[in-house]
């Protein structure tokens, strides 16, 4: 699992960095700074896990909690925005709902499911390492 999480965190970091600096134009600090910070935390934990460094699990704990908390926050904000706009504009059709739902569906595996699995694994690791 150590290698799997290392690879997945490295991939998530890469997707975030490419997405922020390769796709999204122009630069906007409110988006760039937090996403870059998350990407760096993920990258550090990935390096630690893949290189079997002594601080790897601690780095993974930080990365997983940061991703999990921010993931829930981002998903919440998107859902609340959908509800707010639905309240303001009324029934605005299937297309807007489908696009918003697609965004949430794309985000959840990386921002909620992966860090949750990591946190569960970390718990098992700490239980197994106890004498």
């Amino acid at each position: 699992m150590r290698v799997t999480f290392g690879v997945l965190n490295a991939l998530s970091a890469l997707v975030l960095l490419v997405g922020v600096f390769g796709v999204v134009q122009p630069r906007f600090w409110a988006l760039d700074v937090p996403l870059t910070a998350i990407a760096l935390v993920l990258l550090v934990s990935a390096v630690g896990l893949l290189a079997k460094l002594p601080w790897a699990l601690r780095a993974l704990t930080v990365a997983a909690w940061v991703s999990f908390a921010l993931g829930l926050l981002v998903v919440s904000l998107i859902l609340l925005t959908m509800v707010f706009l639905r309240g303001i504009h009324g029934d605005f059709g299937v297309a807007a709902l489908a696009v918003s739902s697609l965004i949430v569906a794309l985000l959840v595996p990386y921002t909620v499911v992966l860090p949750a699995l990591e946190l569960l694994w970390l718990k098992r690791q700490s239980a197994e390492s106890r004498p």
């Binding site: 829930l72 919440s76 609340l80 509800v83 303001i88 009324g90 605005f92 297309a95």
Partner: protein, 547 residues
């Protein structure tokens, strides 16, 4: 974290999210369907300015009766149907809390309430706040600064103070202003279409200067005129006027078309290699020359022989810009006398259509062959790109070229292309309900934005051309019926918003704007290409129905 802790955490998160969602939804929603309960906002408008206002709880018909009796005034009653609070004192939330063209905003400050009704927001041009973000222009809700400034003037305070301490509500109204007018699909009759064409053409003729140029873009709510100018759009307006003059046998329109064409022929015709081209400066585009060809060819059809030689010369220029694969080089350097192989939107379709029309005048097989090759280039879709069935450019000229060429060089691939494009446009068409009834038939540009008229109109030009070919080519009746239904719904949308006479109470000079088509329900500007595309589509439909 244990699985149990995770489950608990997610359950709490979901519960909090559901409660927050319910609270937000219930707080901000309004019921637009219920009957107006008041209060009633009664306004007196004079030459586009609001000169008096009162808010009454009942009997609005008697309010401001004295002011309404004055000459040149219009009284408008906006009945409040429902209202809801604006959440928090946030610039961002306030900006996104109003539905464009449908909602107003009230502010209560120190016991007094001021209303910015939909009419006020239209007059302020405050429904769309466009924020440039790099190469993008984002619409970030309403223009909060303009609205706050207007409300704070009425309440005798500063906008910042108002945003911090006032209590805001959005409200929905029904208005007796008569704009947009009620117009359904069943109202799209041959007579209604003819009148609309004539009004739009007269708008262009009325707003033409002596030298043949047009007032490029009139702002209905200020009466102002834009300094900009654009040759392809001038040529397009001239083309429409010439067509309308020929079809409606209208001498006023014919004179206007001649003036518009002479403006290009005598003042803005340059030498591009061995041929003439239209434009000015060091560089010209093929769009101006292509649309000039269309205009000249129409004038020729009306008996103006002096345009024969210029038509043939410009057609020669267009042919000389064509590449071996059928595409055109869209620019020509006049100073260095060579083509520039850069492409932009529209021009290939315009040049294709122009060469198809030029062939009718010249009888020159080279024009027909060039048009045929260009059409084939435009409609070829790569088998390797599955997205080609879902991503489309602006193909309104392509499908008009298809129709013009159909009898001489039928291209079934182009017909399939245009039918597929119209199927995509059908998906983008607003349908009421759930869309507002006024938007039914318009082409959507997003769920939270009002549709624009010209994208609908230009797609309609192509839709009617496609309909013409579909009927001639024996396309299955069910597909033709879908296209007919789509076309008539879109025309109803356009006719609802044409200035006939439009929201005259908001206009300093309604007569000048009569017959024009605005940019959108929120953008009451009339640029010369708006009536050109809208009435051009109507004219094409009228011609088809005459056949």
């Amino acid at each position: 974290m244990t699985p149990r802790t995770l489950r608990r955490l997610l359950a709490i998160w979901l519960g909090v999210l559901c409660v927050c969602s319910m609270l937000i939804f219930c707080a901000v929603r309004m019921d637009r369907t219920r009957s107006p309960t008041g209060p009633y906002v009664v306004s007196i408008w004079e030459r586009g300015q609001r000169s008096a206002r009162t808010v009454v709880a009942s009997e609005p018909e008697h309010a401001l009766a004295g002011e309404a009796a004055r000459r040149g005034t219009q009284r408008v009653v906006e009945r409040i149907v429902d209202s809801a609070p604006i959440l928090l004192h946030s610039w961002l939330l306030l900006g996104h809390s109003l539905v464009p063209a449908r909602d107003g905003l009230s502010a209560t400050y120190q016991g007094r309430t001021a209303y910015a009704t939909p009419d006020d927001l239209l007059a302020l041009e405050a429904y769309e706040h466009i924020v440039p973000l790099g190469p993008l222009s984002l619409i970030m809700g309403i223009d909060v600064n303009k609205v706050l400034a207007a409300l704070s003037r009425e309440l005798g305070t500063e906008p910042v103070e108002l945003l911090r301490h006032a209590s805001f509500r959005r409200f929905a109204v029904t208005s007796d202003s008569g704009y947009p007018r009620e117009f359904r699909e069943a109202d799209v009759t041959v007579d209604a279409v003819r009148k609309s064409i004539q009004d739009a053409a007269r708008y262009l003729a009325r707003n033409q200067r002596r030298d043949g140029s047009f007032r490029y873009e009139l702002n209905a709510v200020t009466g102002g005129d834009s300094e900009d100018y654009n040759f392809p759009r001038h040529a397009g307006a001239t083309y429409f006027l010439a067509r309308a003059a020929n079809q409606l046998h209208d001498t006023v329109l014919a004179r206007a078309a001649l003036r518009g064409a002479a403006f290009m022929k005598d003042r803005f015709t340059l030498h591009c290699g061995a041929h003439a081209c239209v434009g000015e400066g060091d560089q010209v585009d093929v769009g101006s020359s292509a649309l000039a060809v269309l205009g000249y060819a129409e004038l020729l059809a009306g008996g103006n022989e002096e345009f024969r030689a210029p038509t043939l010369d410009l057609a020669g220029f267009l042919r000389s810009q064509q590449r071996a694969d059928g595409e055109f080089q869209h620019f020509y350097s006049v100073s260095e006398q060579h083509p520039i192989d850069i492409q932009v939107e529209y021009y290939t379709g315009e040049a294709t259509f122009a060469l198809a029309r030029a062939n009718r005048v010249s009888g020159d097989a080279r024009d027909l062959e060039a048009a045929r090759r260009a059409l084939s280039f435009l409609v070829t879709r790569s088998a390797w790109f599955l997205g080609s069935h879902y991503f489309w450019g602006a193909e309104h000229w392509t499908c008009q070229a298809l129709a013009d060429l159909w009898q001489r060089a039928p291209d079934p691939v182009a017909l399939r292309f245009c039918l597929d494009w119209q199927a995509v446009n059908r998906n983008l068409q607003f349908e009421a309900p759930p869309a507002p009834a006024d938007y039914d038939g318009g082409i959507s540009r997003g769920p939270f934005m009002a549709p624009r008229l010209t994208p609908t109109a230009s797609r309609l030009e192509a839709a009617v051309a496609t309909l013409e070919v579909a009927r001639a080519a024996g396309v299955p009746a069910a597909e033709v019926a879908l296209l007919e239904h789509q076309v008539k719904r879109a025309f109803a949308f356009l006719l609802r918003y044409q200035f006939s006479p439009g929201p005259t109470h908001l206009m300093p000079n309604p007569r000048q704007l009569a017959g024009g088509f605005p940019g959108s329900p929120l953008d009451l500007h009339v640029r010369i290409d708006y009536p050109q595309h809208a009435a051009g589509a109507l004219l094409r439909y009228w011609e088809l129905e005459q056949k």
